[in-house]
Symmetry: C2
Subunit: 129 residues, 2 copies
């Protein structure tokens, strides 16, 4: 059975894709793919997503140069989530952090704190683009 | 500003929560939380989710005993995804695998293969429950 036949897309034809850095195990980001974005990702080995707000495809790093080379694509028991192992060039987060998950809930349980250094400002990331 | 004020819930009042095993870095599963499920998770240090199909709360491991103790709760730059670090007791997947992501796309790019051993059958996991 085809891999694609195992997947359950939502009512908008989308499936969430968790992006994990293979070398470090860090979860870098989560974004959405439709079937065509998965096919482009499989074929090119670069992550392609579907922007729900802009209603168009986007390639991670197309503006910043911070691309993701795909090392493995797995999917869960329900077929409704993808987990993609990548090699990340530069910062994954458009705010200049290595991972988009750079803030954690603090001990109070209601407030939060930043948990990693900022590698660059958004202006630095996009200055030549 | 409260942690909760940073979060963007979808039109159903839900936010996806990626569950990662802190000790191994393995991504175990993804499930959905509403605000009350997050509050229960923060207060009890056990993962609570909202079942979209059953329209009720569920606690990971409430039937199987395979609970998840929360070690860290982070959220992404857009505030629309949670990443929760846990200590996992037993298998996270109801199909008896350590992680729900036990299948990967193979070299053909269209078929898939199982990538980890099955630790137990569903019957074994739920036999006394």
């Amino acid at each position: 059975m085809s891999f694609y036949d195992q997947l359950k897309f939502n009512q908008d034809g989308l499936i969430p894709a968790i992006i994990q850095e293979q070398s470090s195990g860090r979860v870098l980001m989560m974004a959405w793919m439709n079937r065509a974005a998965i096919e482009k990702t499989v074929a090119s080995r670069k992550t392609h997503f579907w922007s729900r707000s802009r209603q168009k495809f986007w390639i991670k790093g197309e503006t910043s140069g911070h691309t993701q080379t795909v090392k493995d694509i797995s999917f869960d028991c329900d077929g409704d989530t993808l987990l993609i192992q990548v090699e990340q060039i530069g910062a994954a987060c458009h705010e200049g952090y290595h991972s988009c998950f750079f803030r954690s809930v603090d001990e109070s349980g209601t407030d939060h704190q930043v948990t990693e250094p900022r590698l660059a400002t958004p202006e630095q990331i996009y200055k030549n683009k």
